[in-house]
Each structure stands twice: as structure tokens, then as C-alpha cells.
């Protein structure tokens, strides 16, 4: 008789909650669309959308709570101790919490936007939840197979989401392009994994670390291909070219979601992979990361200058930010990793905020995409203009905002590990970035409004997201060590970031 494996179901709790949420939404839509009235209210399309978004937000909040509890508890729990594939540890629970929070904000951002674009279909939220569960699997994985499973579970719903506005050519193009190139990258990644398996005889990170032979060419090829696979997901130059096309074509709310969560998940996985599986290889990878980082910072910032479409501009800006983040990987120190985590959180809020403003301006099926259409926004929509200016300042890294603190921590880590030249490139290119970021505040505050049909009022969901993001950007910028809040006491984000990566350094 085979003994039942000793499973630790609580390890999967955050992921299970998200999965249950997506099922609930799918079934809920079916039930709701059959009914005429619910609790005395007429069932309209926007009513269904609101209920389903509410469901998604509820489940994400549960996940946030569950992962927060796990993080506070600390310690490492493995799902199946006999065959470790997933583990809940400070790192995965913290990143899961960040993912859940940003997915939650994305859902709140989408409610009115989907109605405006007349693509208010319930499966939207189910897809978001599915991809989120994939990301959470990926960051908790300690086995190559599990990483790949999570990666695909994350990617496929996002391919669909990118083409969600199916009546629009651009949206279709975006989805198809992303799918084609994404499949190609997945294939490269899988090939690399296969080679690594061939070298070490196992797929778990532990086996990889034990069986890795740095002199074996097969191992090196495998390693290189795995790096390429991830470099695609985090859009490092030269694996970045899909990014502007996809970000531009996808509905803005989807872009907001994918631009932050995919980056967080992929970077987190890369950190874990490097720290747990490829430990001895840091020296040879360091040069590769150095070059990738420098290239990405330079190309991302320079290309952003000439963009006339705000979503494309933000796409290049997100490429540039991936380059800054990569500096943390180059350092390979606990300081660098924790700076990356802090930066990712800062980036989440400021980028979600910036796309959130674009979403909040979308009107009757039209995205507000041209940079020129921001002219005079301070006159017509002063509140939106103010938060947009704040997000732009933060993305540019002006002191007092989260973006500055993030860059400061990353650059500080680079100084302390001796990567002075990378730091110089980063700082110089930050100066370049000020040009394109500040264009928008200049247009908003110093030009007369064009005859542009923006939406004239803001929905409560969008407003809440923007307020949360703006407050977070300010709070992280002003009190990086300790964010004072009235409700939850002091939030010590830097300390959390340190604790989450501390486990890789024997902390």
C-alpha cells in the first residue's frame, strides 16, 4: 500500500484562493447573465461587471491577507516535503502579497473602463485571476517544472487579455504578436531547462545547485537560454521589442496590470533562481547582466524620448526601469536584492498610477493615447493632472517620491558593490528620462487645452486606485523606513524587503 504523501495544503492557500476566485467568477457570470433581477436590482451588463470585479477584489484581498499572515509568521514551509516543488517562505509570501495588491488595484481600475470600451465581459476578471495564480505559483516554485508551469499559466491568460478588445485591430495585433514571440521565448526557456536537467539529473533547485558543473558546455548553454527566457519576460534589450507594440495595442487597464505584475513576478523568480540554483555562477553571469542592464537603460530611455503615444512612452519607460532593476541583480548582494524588491513596490504604485490616469481619461471606446492630448489637463481635470504630475515626477526619480528612494537604494547598492560605471550610466540616463517624463506636466500645466473629448468625471474605483497609488508614492518617498498610517500602525517597507530576501543569505 502506498502511503498518502504528507502534504502541506496551507502552503498553497494564497494560490488556491485566487484559483477558487476565478472559478467563482466564471460560474457567477453564467448564473448572473441568466437572471433578470438579483435582490430586486435589474441585471445589466455593468451591474454584472461590478459584481464580478467585487468578487475578484474580495478574493485578492483574502490572498493578500493570507500571504501577509504567512509573511508575518516567517519560516519555510514546503508543499510536499518528499518532492519539494513549491514553498511558502518569507520571499514568496511577500511577493505574493505585492502581486495580490497590484492585481486588486488593477481590477478596481477596470470596472468603468471596460464599460466605456464596451468590452464588459466577465471572463476578464477570471483571466486576471488565472494569470495571477500563475505568477504566484512561479514565485513560490523551487523546481524548474513548477517555474515553467507557473510561467505559462501566467502568460496564456495575458495573451488573451491583450486581445480583449477584439473589435480593434491593434488589440488583435498586440495579442498575436505577444503570443508568437512569447511562445518562441517559452521554447527557448524550456530548451534551456531541459539542458540543465540533462546536466544535473534533477529539476529541483537543490539538485541544480548540487549537480551544476561550470565547465560543462551543456550547462552553460542551458543557463544562457534560461536567462534569455526571463530576459524576454522582463523586456531586457534586445529581447524587448514586443513591449511597446503590446503595451500600445492592449486595452489600457490590461497594460496597467501586465506592466507591473509580470515584471514583479519574473524578477522575483529570477532572484530566487539566481540565489538558490545558480549560486556558484554569479561571476560569469554578472558580466551578462551588466551588459543587459546598461543596454536596457540606454535604449529604453532614448527610445522613450521620441514617442508621441503615451502608452508607448510608458512602455519604453518600463523597459528603462527594468534596466535599473537589473542593477540589483548585477550586485548580487542582499542590499541589491532588497533594493530591487523596494524598487518593484515603488514601480508598482507609480506605474499603475500613471496607466490609471490614462484609463481614467478613456472616453466612449477611445483611449486617450496621444501625449499631445494631455495639453491643458490641469485646467479641465485638475485632480487627475495633479496625480499624473506626481507619478511622472516619481518615475523620473525626483526626491520626495517613491521613485527617488527606489533609485537611490539601487544606486547605493551599486556603489557599495563597486559597480561605479553602471551607476554612472544609470544616473546619466535618469537625467535623459526627465525630459520625456516632464513633458507631460509641462503640457498639462503650461498649455491651453485642446479640443479633446476626455471623460469629464472619474469613477469611484479609478479614484480610489489613484488616491492609493499617489499616497503610496508619497509615503514611500518621504518615509521609506517607516510609513506611518492611521489604521495599521507603522508599515516598515524597507525592513520587509530586507526580510524577504534575507532568507537567501542565511537570514
Amino acid at each position: 500500500m502506498i502511503p498518502a504523501p504528507d502534504l502541506n495544503l496551507s502552503v498553497l492557500l494564497p494560490i488556491i484562493l485566487v484559483a477558487i476566485g476565478s472559478m467563482t467568477i466564471l460560474m457567477g457570470e453564467v448564473l448572473l447573465s441568466r437572471a433578470d433581477t438579483v435582490l430586486g436590482r435589474e441585471v445589466t451588463e455593468s451591474f454584472i461587471g461590478t459584481v464580478l470585479a467585487g468578487t475578484a477584489i474580495f478574493f485578492f484581498a483574502l490572498t493578500l491577507w493570507a500571504s501577509g499572515v504567512a509573511f508575518a509568521g516567517g519560516g519555510v514551509q514546503v508543499f510536499n516535503p518528499d518532492n519539494p516543488m513549491y514553498q511558502l517562505d518569507p520571499f514568496s509570501s511577500f511577493v505574493t502579497a505585492v502581486l495580490a495588491l497590484s492585481a486588486l488595484l488593477s481590477c478596481a481600475l477596470s470596472i468603468t473602463y471596460l464599460s466605456e470600451l464596451r468590452i464588459n465581459h466577465g471572463e476578464y476578471y477570471a483571466l486576471i485571476m488565472l494569470s495571477a495564480s500563475g505568477m504566484m505559483l512561479m514565485v513560490a516554485a523551487v523546481d524548474l517544472i513548477a517555474v515553467f508551469l507557473g510561467l505559462e499559466l501566467m502568460s496564456i491568460p495575458i495573451y488573451v487579455l491583450a486581445g480583449f478588445d477584439r473589435r480593434k485591430l491593434r488589440s488583435n495585433e498586440s495579442a498575436l504578436k505577444y503570443f508568437l514571440i512569447g511562445s518562441f521565448a517559452s521554447a527557448i526557456l524550456l530548451y534551456g531547462m531541459a539542458l540543465l536537467y540533462g546536466v544535473s539529473g534533477g529539476t529541483s533547485f537543490e539538485a541544480l545547485r548540487a549537480g551544476f558543473d561550470a565547465d560543462n558546455p551543456m550547462a552553460l548553454v542551458g543557463l544562457g537560454l534560461v536567462v534569455v527566457g526571463f530576459a524576454f519576460k522582463i523586456s531586457m534589450v534586445p529581447f524587448h521589442q514586443w513591449t511597446p507594440d503590446v503595451y500600445e495595442g492592449a486595452p489600457s487597464a490590461v497594460t496597467a496590470y501586465m506592466s507591473v505584475t509580470v515584471k514583479v513576478a519574473a524578477f522575483a523568480t529570477l532572484i530566487r533562481l539566481l540565489a538558490m540554483a545558480f549560486g556558484p555562477l554569479e561571476a560569469s553571469l554578472e558580466t551578462i547582466f551588466w551588459v543587459l542592464s546598461a543596454l536596457t537603460i540606454v535604449v529604453g530611455n532614448i527610445m522613450a524620448i521620441i514617442q508621441e503615444n503615451v502608452k508607448r512612452m510608458l512602455a519604453y519607460s518600463s523597459i528603462a526601469h527594468a534596466g535599473y532593476l537589473m542593477i540589483g541583480l548585477v550586485t548580487g548582494t542582499i542590499e541589491g536584492y532588497s533594493a530591487m524588491i523596494f524598487y518593484l513596490i515603488a514601480y508598482t504604485f507609480m506605474n499603475l498610477g500613471a496607466f490609471g490616469v490614462v484609463v481614467a481619461l478613456a472616453n466612449r471606446g477611445n483611449d486617450c493615447e496621444r501625449i499631445a492630448s494631455f495639453a491643458g489637463l490641469a485646467r479641465t481635470r485638475p485632480g487627475l493632472a495633479a496625480v499624473m504630475a506626481l507619478f511622472m515626477l516619481s518615475l523620473a526619480g525626483i526626491p520626495g517620491t517613491a521613485g527617488f528612494m527606489g533609485k537611490f537604494k539601487i544606486f547605493m547598492a551599486a556603489v557599495n558593490s563597486g559597480d561605479i560605471w553602471l551607476l554612472i550610466i544609470g544616473v546619466l540616463m535618469s537625467v535623459v528620462s526627465v525630459y520625456y517624463y516632464l513633458r507631460i506636466p509641462v503640457l498639462m500645466y503650461m498649455r491651453e487645452p485642446e479640443d479633446e473629448s476626455h471623460r469629464t468625471e472619474i469613477a469611484s474605483g479609478e479614484g480610489a486606485v489613484l488616491v492609493v497609488c499617489a499616497l503610496a508614492v508619497l509615503a514611500l518617498g518621504l518615509f521609506p523606513n517607516r510609513v506611518p498610517t492611521l489604521l495599521f500602525g507603522d508599515l516598515d517597507v524597507l525592513d520587509w524587503a530586507n526580510r524577504s530576501v534575507g532568507m537567501f543569505f542565511g537570514g
Binding site: L180, V221, L225, V228, M303
Partner: protein
């Protein structure tokens, strides 16, 4: 750290309340663009400052409950700037401290501040130039109060500098408050730029001090930290080239002290940087009262007193302070004699009184300086506000030659104005008498070279003060009315918001001197330790060893002070009431001297010709046209910008073809490069 002090979470709210209301005003007019009803906005602001005052009183009670030697409340909030490591580590905290010195300052700022806020409600209702004006005004006023409180409560030099710059900014904004008139905007810029020169000195002093402390292994910017390790740097010197005065070496603390004093000269309008203050009268009158008489301009005096341990070890720097103060007091008083604008007279009087305070501080009489600072805040605040009431009643007429005989019309204003004039002229038992007397005693008793001369200048200035203040009084309130008849019929006391704070300030102008009653008077009426202010402040200041003064000498000094004030008054009465034609004849006879004084010794013209104009020409011809427009913009900024743009537009753009197969091609190139590098 020597003395950590007692924790108190209360302190942070004293500056924070005005800041929160300022932020509210800023958001509602700047971001939301929905101004609050002016009256409501004004009441918020007043409430914030009044609450700060109440909190300051509670904090004072807590402070008094402690034993005299350890009276120190601290509120450490967070590390503001942490940089450097080891012996060069800089750690500037956002941390407030309340010791007797900052307690006095805080009470003065919040109390006089609240009165002036209330007054402003009435004063600004008269202003209809701009619908957002009132709220903007109160926003700046609250921001000013916040900055001033940070300045006096900050426990380190860096935080103090933040407040220092903050009050400078608010002063600039408020002088140019009616910016549509370009003269006001010019005056605001002048104040700001002149202050920058002083701020430069402040910063250099700060850097030198920090550097010296780092060299002995105790980097610190907090006052407690500096004081604890100060002994280690007293002996340090700076080597200078032989052609410089006092070569071959300067004592470091003297240099640091002079640098800080340059900052004080800017903020507190001392020679050579006093020129901005008279022009600052372009701002609304409550601003002149709050910022340019009662509080901000005294920041320099506060700083010198705060650093008393430094100046006690720097006798040469102290002597410079004393002499600068004395000369400023005299020069400003002589200018005040000839001015015809009621606010200008008060402005020069302020410069002169600030000179008194520096005279005291330079002579080691820190208590006297702070005492005069406090009484001056009351009576000069009162005089400005009362002058504002006159100006309101006169429909914004400020020329005293067009006033006269207002005694019969302004039946309430006249009494408070009278109290202010008596207080500043130095008649017992009004507050100005005691504080001025203490300064003169301090000057007499000090070790500063030529201290008897300093005493003489102080006495002369006291006589001039009485003269020009009574000249102002007679020209405005007494004699024949020279008011145009169409205005005269409307002249009456302004409304209650304006008048009531005046009574409060008048009360304190009369009585505030009693907190510093000299011991010789206390002995007469049988009070032990009558000078409660001095006793309260004593633990803060570095104690010097002044010359002993016999009691009889002190009585005589008081007598002569009253006598000279009386003679100044009598002269004013003689010239402006008894024989009104005489001043014009004197002016005609001594026309050269008169014109020099009327034109303020041509100092503005001198600065303009020697500094401003050459600088403007150099800046325009060389720095702007050649360096900035040519090199920096042309080659540097625009050159690189066009270059980078061209790279993006002509090069990189073509890589972004939009075709998936091209993208995959680049990916393969990248993958091959990475794998190739790994296999090398």
C-alpha cells in the same frame, strides 16, 4: 550627547498644526482650485496658530515642572538625512527641542502670531484685488508660522536652516503678495537676494563647524552634540596667506562665528545687509508686523544666542557683533528721523532695535538680547498693527505729511498707539525701558574693546529713538489736521478684528517688562529673584564674567536713560508742536546732511552702482550670452539633446520595425551572444 532631555510627543504638533492648515489652503486653491469662503479659511488659520500657542503653554508648564538644570523637552521624530560613515557620518534628525530659550521664542511667535492672524482677518477683508487673495495670504502666513517654529524648535543646525530658508521664502512671497504691482515684486526679490548672501555665510559656517568636529572624530550638527565636543575645536586655527589681515593664522571659532553672523546680518537686517528691510514694507501691513518686526527678523538674534557657547569662545567675533549692532542702531535711527512714510519710520526703527539686540548679544548679554527681542515683538508688532489701522482709516495713505490731528478721530487706535510709542521710547515702567536698560548695562559691563563707547552710542540712539517716535506721534495724531477734507469725514476706527488684538498687544507692551525686572528694582520692593526671565534663561547661556557694576551706577544709568528719552521727547515736541516751521528751516540750512539722511546715506545707490549693475552687465554679457546660451545650451544641453534625439529618431527607430520576425531575429542575436559569451 550631554543631556538627552525629557521625551515629549507634544512638541511636534506645535509646528505641525500651522503646516496642516497651510497644506489645506494650498490644496484647495492650487490643486482643487475651489477656494474656501475667505472668512472660514481665515478662521482655520487663526485656530491653528492659537492652538499652537495653547500647546506651547502646555509644553512650558511641563518644562517648568522639571528642575532648572535639566529643563529640556525633546521630540525626536525621524532621521531626516543620514549620510556618510565613520568620523564623517552626518545624521540630521527631524527632532524638536524645547529649552528655556526656544520656549520664550515659541511663546512669542505663537502669541504675537495669533494676534496678527486675527488682525489680518479684518485687514484683508478690505482687499478686493483677487478672489483667492485671502486664502493665499493665510496659506503663506501659516506656512511662515510653521517655518518659524521649525527654526526655533529644531534641535540641530540643519533643521534650523530649513526653517531659516522657509521663513525667507514666505517673506519673499508675502512682500510680493500684491505682485501685480511690479514694485512689490521687485521688493520681494530684493529681500530674497540680499538674504541669500547671508544664507551663504550661514552655510559656510555650518560646513566649517561640521568639518572641524569631524576632524576630532565627533561629527555632529545637533546643538547638544556640538556643545558637548566644542572644547576640542576651540584651539583650532586656519593658516592664511601673509597679505591677509591678522595673518598668519585665524582662530577657527572666530571665522565660524563671523560666518554665522553674516547669516544673521542678512536675516536680521544689520549693516551691511539691512537694505532689504525698509523695502519689505511693500507687503501688507500684518506681514510687516509679523515677519518684518516681531518674529522673522529676530531669527538672527536667536541664532547668535543659541550659539552662545560658540561666541563666548570667540571674543573677536563677539566684538564685531557688538560694534556692528551699535553702528546699525545709530545709523538706522538717524535715517528714521527724516522719513515721512509712517511704515518706513517703523522699519528703520526695527533695524535700529535689532542693532540693540546684537549689541547686547555681542557684549555677552544674551538674556538682555532675548528680553529685548520679546518686548520688541510686543511693542513693534503693536506699532505696526496700529499704523496699519491708521493706514486703513486713511484709505491706504502712508505719508505722515498728509495726516495730523487724528487724535480726535481714532479714539481707540490712539490709546494703543500711545502705549507702543511710550514702550519703545523707554519710559518706565513700560516694557522697553527695562529691556533697553538691561542692554545698556550689559554693554557697560562687558569686556568688548571700547565698551564705554558702545554704551555711549546706545544712549545716543535711545535719545534719537524717543525723538523720531514722538515725531511720528505728533505728526500723525497731534497738531493741525493736514488730511484732505474728502478723506477726513470717513476717518474712523477700523472694525473689531483689527482693534481688539491691538488692546491685547498694548497690554503686554506696557507690562511685559516686569518679567525682567532688574534685581536692583526687585530689592527696592522686596522681591527675591525679581528678574524671572534671566533666571529662567540662565542655564541655556554660556556664562561670562562681566565687570562688576555698583548698584549706585545702575541707578544712575537708569536715570540717564530716562533723562535722554525725555529730552528726545521734548525736542520732538518743540520742533513739531511748539514751532512747526523750524524743521523745514533746519532742513534748508543743513540741506546736505538732510538730503543724505532722507536718501538713507545713498546706500542703495552705492550698492546699485558698485555691485548690482556690474553684476548684471557681467551676467548678461558674459555668463548669459557666452557661457549659458553659447556653451551650456548650444553645445551642452541642446547639443546633447539633439544628438540623443537624432540617435533615437535616425538609428534605433528602424530596429523597431513592428514585424514579429525581425523581433525574433534580434532575440536570436541576443541569445547567441549570451551563450557565446558563456562558452568563451
Amino acid at each position: 550627547m550631554v543631556d538627552v532631555g525629557t521625551e515629549s510627543d507634544l512638541l511636534r504638533w506645535i509646528p505641525l498644526l500651522p503646516l496642516l492648515v497651510a497644506a489645506y489652503h494650498g490644496i484647495s486653491i492650487g490643486v482643487l482650485r475651489r477656494p474656501t469662503v475667505p472668512r472660514v479659511a481665515a478662521i482655520f488659520s487663526c485656530a491653528a496658530v492659537l492652538l499652537s500657542f495653547v500647546l506651547a503653554c502646555i509644553a512650558l508648564r511641563d518644562l517648568l515642572a522639571l528642575p532648572p538644570d535639566s529643563r529640556m523637552l525633546v521630540d525626536d521624530i525621524y532621521t531626516w538625512i543620514g549620510a556618510g560613515i565613520g568620523s564623517r557620518a552626518l545624521s540630521a534628525e527631524v527632532s524638536f527641542q524645547l529649552d528655556p530659550l526656544s520656549a520664550v521664542m515659541t511663546l512669542v511667535v505663537t502669541f504675537v502670531g495669533s494676534m496678527i492672524h486675527i488682525y489680518s482677518i479684518g485687514y484683508m477683508e478690505d482687499d478686493h484685488r483677487d478672489d483667492k487673495g485671502t486664502q493665499r495670504f493665510f496659506c503663506y502666513l501659516n506656512l511662515f508660522t510653521f517655518s518659524m517654529l521649525v527654526l526655533v524648535l529644531g534641535d540641530n543646525l540643519v533643521l534650523m536652516f530649513l526653517g531659516w530658508e522657509g521663513v525667507g521664502l514666505c517673506s519673499y512671497l508675502l512682500i510680493g503678495f500684491w505682485y501685480s504691482d511690479s514694485w512689490n515684486a521687485y521688493c520681494g526679490s530684493k529681500a530674497f537676494i540680499v538674504n541669500r548672501i547671508g544664507d551663504f555665510g550661514f552655510l559656510i559656517g555650518l560646513f566649517l563647524l561640521f568639518n572641524a568636529l569631524s576632524e576630532i572624530g565627533h561629527p555632529a550638527v545637533s546643538f547638544a552634540g556640538i556643545q558637548a565636543h566644542f572644547d576640542g575645536i576651540v584651539e583650532m586655527t586656519i593658516a592664511v596667506p601673509a597679505w591677509m589681515p591678522f595673518a598668519p593664522e585665524w582662530q577657527l571659532v572666530n571665522v565660524i562665528g563671523l560666518c554665522f553672523f553674516l547669516g544673521a546680518c542678512g536675516k536680521s537686517a544689520q549693516i551691511p545687509l539691512y537694505v532689504w528691510l525698509p523695502d519689505a514694507m511693500a507687503g501688507p501691513t500684518p506681514v510687516s508686523a509679523l515677519i518684518h518686526a516681531a518674529t522673522m527678523v529676530t531669527a538672527g538674534v536667536y541664532m547668535v544666542c543659541r550659539l552662545s557657547f560658540l561666541y563666548a569662545a570667540a571674543p573677536e567675533a563677539s566684538a564685531v557683533i557688538a560694534w556692528t549692532g551699535a553702528i546699525t542702531a545709530l545709523v538706522a535711527a538717524t535715517i528714521a528721523i527724516t522719513q515721512n512714510d509712517i511704515k518706513k519710520v517703523l522699519a528703520y526703527s526695527t533695524v535700529s532695535q535689532l542693532g540693540y539686540m546684537f549689541l547686547a548679544a555681542g557684549c555677552g548679554g544674551y538674556t538682555a538680547a532675548i528680553f529685548h527681542l520679546g518686548t520688541h515683538a510686543f511693542f513693534k508688532g503693536l506699532l505696526f498693527l496700529a499704523a496699519g489701522a491708521v493706514i486703513l482709516a486713511m484709505h491706504h495713505e502712508q505719508d505722515m505729511r498728509k495726516m495730523g490731528g487724528l487724535w480726535r478721530r481714532l479714539r481707540m487706535t490712539r490709546w494703543v498707539f500711545f502705549a507702543g510709542v511710550y514702550a519703545i521710547a523707554g519710559f518706565p515702567p513700560f516694557s522697553g525701558f527695562f529691556s533697553k536698560d538691561e542692554i545698556l548695562v550689559a554693554a557697560w559691563a562687558s569686556h568688548v574693546p571700547g565698551h564705554t563707547w558702545l554704551y555711549g552710542i546706545g544712549m545716543l540712539t535711545a535719545g534719537l529713538t524717543a525723538f523720531y517716535m514722538f515725531r511720528l506721534w505728533y505728526l500723525t495724531f497731534c497738531g493741525e489736521s493736514r488730511v484732505p477734507s474728502d478723506v477726513l469725514s470717513h476717518v474712523k476706527d477700523p472694525n473689531g478684528f483689527v482693534v481688539n488684538p491691538l488692546w491685547v498687544l498694548a497690554f503686554f507692551s506696557v507690562t511685559a517688562g516686569l518679567v525682567g525686572l532688574p534685581q536692583i528694582w526687585g530689592d527696592l520692593i522686596g522681591i527675591e529673584e525679581s528678574n524671572s526671565l534671566a533666571n529662567f534663561l540662565k542655564p541655556v547661556f554660556a556664562a561670562g564674567e562681566p565687570h562688576h557694576i555698583a548698584h549706585s551706577t545702575e541707578y544712575w544709568m537708569a536715570f540717564w536713560a530716562v533723562a535722554i528719552a525725555l529730552s528726545g521727547t521734548a525736542l520732538a515736541w518743540l520742533l513739531y508742536i511748539k514751532k512747526p516751521g523750524v524743521p523745514d528751516r533746519i532742513a534748508a540750512t543743513l540741506s546736505g546732511l538732510y538730503r543724505t539722511l532722507l536718501n538713507k546715506y545713498y546706500i542703495d545707490e552705492l550698492y546699485d552702482a558698485v555691485i548690482v549693475r556690474p553684476l548684471v552687465v557681467f551676467s548678461d554679457r558674459v555668463l548669459y550670452r557666452i557661457v549659458d546660451a553659447g556653451v551650456i545650451d548650444g553645445i551642452g544641453a541642446n547639443g546633447t539633446a539633439y544628438g540623443i534625439r537624432a540617435v533615437a529618431a535616425n538609428g534605433l527607430k528602424y530596429a523597431q520595425s513592428g514585424l514579429a520576425q525581425n523581433y525574433i531575429f534580434f532575440m536570436i542575436v541576443g541569445a547567441v551572444a549570451i551563450v557565446g559569451y558563456l562558452l568563451r
